[in-house]
């Protein structure tokens, strides 16, 4: 490839990342013209994935340029501030890579199922395009539009199967996130009124000029800016699903079609999280960090308690998505030097293993014909790859070495060490181990369908089985995964002979390989991530770097701001990571696992199950949820003001 072509590709990288999924969406849409059951319509679905693949090439080519500074792309040649500008900085690169990877795998895993017609693929790819533009946009109004593009696609996809639960979950999510986005728009209004700009770069300049968010106790721009940042955070917070905005997530993620659940839990909540972090950084609202630390820690613990009470396998996973978002939020809120690699690293790792878990559990539910984890038995019979995927995913989320969850959870606990919130996360870690021991029952047991109640004693046995599956999982990453024997090695029941379709198999293999790779090579991976994340248009309070017009003429939209806003070169801010595979840290996971096994044994007792069943069915009404909502808004607005008070 010659240098000119490469340059064109790099300077157009931000728009290409958005356009590729759009092209894919329109390819899928042509399939609507064909008879929906024909071979041609099915072929169109496969073809629609192809336009996504060059995204990997675009990202690879643009990486060296991004490492030297953010790429700016001005849409239609209008300068930033007048037109729409796209910014590909380190964080945007990371999220774009994640979105591209997971949407390709999710589309691949959707192919074997007939009910996903070309229309489904259209909405899937449009959601992908929307997510890309959320992370790449350089102004908050375009962010609003992108969020709504994502949301419209997601409402349709959640309700795609037409089940009453899916329809209701979709409608509830629609009400909540639409109210949320109204608050976001209100925040946009306050920003425009007080600062006269909507560009992220302009906002950080304006905030600095107004004396920071919160300001003094006297009425002034500082106080209305703190309301603005609260409204923006609450608007996005609904989609990030931390407590108290989490109530829609378990239903929506549990009742969406299985591949869509993987996308929602894997990337969508991360995209919202990254957008929220971007806004907090632009506003330099550091006073919110202690609030996020506590919200995160409480979210992590409370969601795990609810997860333990679930008997629906997908709801259990959905509650764990909330809980893991708590870890991510707490690590970021801890505001220590390790916060960025810990929280971004855990966000990426969670995206990988949770997509894997949702795909694998979805396949298991499809094969087993039940969602109840006390009834699902030996789901992986005849498909050892599924057993590997479930084992690897469960071990990664439980934080067992050498998987990626272990590495990033170690960083999270190091970042939080000494904080008062640390014990909450430690307890949440035990709960996580326990609930995945509970989930791992679906791999074992006597027969494929069990009456409700026979699974009660299986918890402790499953704990031992999980450890043996760990060794098997680690081995499978090196050798061919199909060479793995079934954990129980017993006779296969007749209907268990169904093999995995190759598309689903490929998606699982890729994710298992990535979970292993980011675990075994955890330290270099997270260090690279940290280095990349520091490439931002003015880290905390800097700003202004983007307003410099690009030096390249003739339609070349590539502007490389020479100096970052503040704090010197990005390398200088990347510190040392602790050695996560040290012996004392490895031993430190032992008590967590043992306590988790005990807890798993306790919660699968019959009497406790009756109690937890009552807990699991507590579903807050929409009214309560919206009261939470207003409460959250007030909390976010008042904290920066209180922090600024002497």
């Amino acid at each position: 490839m010659n240098a000119v072509a490469s340059n064109v590709l790099v300077s157009n990288a931000p728009i290409l990342l958005i356009l590729l999924p759009m092209v894919a969406a329109f390819v899928a849409l042509t399939g609507k013209l064909l008879p929906s059951d024909g071979a041609a319509a099915r072929a169109i679905r496969t073809f629609s994935i192809l336009p996504l693949l060059p995204a990997g090439w675009v990202l690879a080519v643009s990486l060296p340029a991004v490492l030297t500074g953010p790429l700016l792309y001005e849409l239609g040649g209008f300068p930033a501030g007048i037109g729409i500008a796209l910014v590909l900085d380190g964080l945007a690169w990371i999220s774009a890579a994640l979105i591209a990877l997971v949407t390709i795998l999710v589309a691949l895993a959707s192919l074997p199922h007939r009910e996903f017609d070309p229309g489904y693929f259209f909405f899937l790819h449009m959601t992908g395009a929307g997510m890309q533009s959320v992370v790449l946009t350089g102004d908050i109004f375009t962010m609003f539009v992108s969020f709504e593009i994502v949301a419209i696609g997601v409402y349709v996809l959640i309700a795609w199967e037409g089940s009453p639960q899916g329809l209701l979950a979709g409608l509830k999510y629609l009400f909540l996130s639409s109210v949320g986005i109204l608050f976001f728009l209100f925040g946009v209004f306050l920003v425009y009124r007080d600062l006269g700009t909507l560009a992220l770069a302009g906002i950080s300049e304006g905030v600095a000029a107004a004396g920071g968010v919160g300001g003094s106790l006297a009425p002034g721009p500082g106080r209305s800016l703190s309301l603005a940042v609260a409204a923006l955070c609450v608007g996005i917070g609904v989609r990030t699903a931390f407590i108290p905005f989490h109530t829609w997530l378990p239903e929506a993620h549990a009742w969406a079609p299985h591949p869509i659940s993987a996308m929602l839990s894997g990337v969508l909540i991360k995209v919202s999280f990254f957008a929220m972090i971007r806004i907090i950084r632009v506003f330099d609202a550091i006073a919110l960090q202690p609030l996020l630390l506590w919200i995160g820690a409480i979210t992590a613990l409370v969601a795990v308690i609810w997860a333990l009470a679930q008997h629906d396998a997908k709801r259990l996973l959905a509650f764990h998505s909330i809980s893991q978002m708590g870890y991510i939020l707490a690590a970021w809120g801890a505001a220590t030097s390790l916060s960025i690699p810990a929280s971004y690293g855990h966000a990426i790792n969670h995206a990988l293993f949770k997509s894997l878990l949702f795909l694998a559990v979805g396949i298991a539910i499809h094969r087993g014909g039940s969602r109840n984890l006390y009834r699902l038995r030996r789901v992986a019979t005849g498909a050892p790859l599924l057993a590997v995927a479930l084992a690897v995913g469960s071990l990664a989320i439980a934080g067992i070495p050498p998987f990626n969850g272990y590495v990033s959870k170690q960083l999270v606990s190091t970042a939080l060490y000494g904080s008062a919130a640390y014990p909450l996360l430690w307890l949440a870690g035990i709960g996580t181990v326990a609930s995945f021991i509970k989930l791992s029952q679906i791999l074992f047991g006597a027969g494929p369908t069990q009456p409700d109640g026979a699974g009660a004693g299986a918890g402790a046995g499953a704990a031992a089985g999980l450890t043996s599956a760990a060794g098997a999982g680690a081995g499978a990453g090196v050798g061919p995964p199909l060479g793995l024997a079934h954990p129980n090695g017993s006779e296969l029941p007749a209907e268990g002979h169904r093999r995995l379709p190759w598309q689903e198999g490929t998606a699982l293999v890729v994710l298992v390989a990535l979970v292993l790779a980011t675990g075994l090579a955890g330290e270099p991976f997270l260090r690279g991530l940290w280095r990349l994340a520091e490439v931002a248009p003015g880290a905390l309070g800097g700003g202004g770097a983007l307003s410099a017009p690009g030096a390249l003429g003739g339609g070349g939209a590539l502007a490389a701001p020479g100096a970052l806003g503040g704090g010197g070169a990005p390398e200088a801010r990347v510190g040392l990571l602790p050695a996560v595979f040290a012996a004392d840290r490895l031993l430190g996971t032992l008590p967590t696992v043992l306590l988790g096994a005990v807890l798993a044994w306790v919660v699968t007792r019959r009497r406790i199950r009756a109690l937890s069943h009552r807990l699991a069915t507590v579903a807050p009404r929409l009214k309560t949820v919206l009261v939470f909502f207003v409460f959250g808004l007030v909390l976010f607005a008042i904290v920066p003001i209180l922090a600024a008070a002497p």
Binding site: A151, I152, L171, S178, L182, Y192, K623
Partner: protein
């Protein structure tokens, strides 16, 4: 005065989404709350001048940007409204009622 009116309209919409059990009325309430935000932008822009923002217009032109933004927001709002009504219709076809509490109760008792 107009500010308070806009605030009141927003709260009426919000209250409808929260408290009205009828799903169609919830959707309408959402639309009302959305309109309040649109009015907020448009009213603010109208204070910045008195002329139309076209070349050769008379007087100080008003700030055109909020109008452009709200045009986009209206389009987005219509899409969400249409989708919400489609979901409500599907639920109505399944359960024969528009009462969200009733549907929630029946959906969760089914999925046990």
């Amino acid at each position: 005065m107009a500010w308070y009116l806009i605030g009141a309209i927003f709260l009426v919409g919000l209250w409808g989404v929260i408290a009205d059990p009828n799903m169609v009325r919830k959707v309408i309430a959402l639309s009302i709350a959305n309109s309040a935000i649109i009015m907020l932008f448009v009213y603010y822009a109208s204070l910045s001048g008195e002329g139309v923002p076209i070349l050769g217009g008379e007087g100080t032109p008003v700030d055109p940007l909020p109008h452009a933004l709200m045009l986009t927001a209206i389009v987005v709002g219509i899409c969400v409204l249409a989708l919400a009504l489609a979901l409500v219709y599907r639920l109505y076809r399944l359960y024969g009622t528009l009462d969200m509490r009733e549907i929630e109760r029946r959906v969760w008792s089914e999925s046990e």
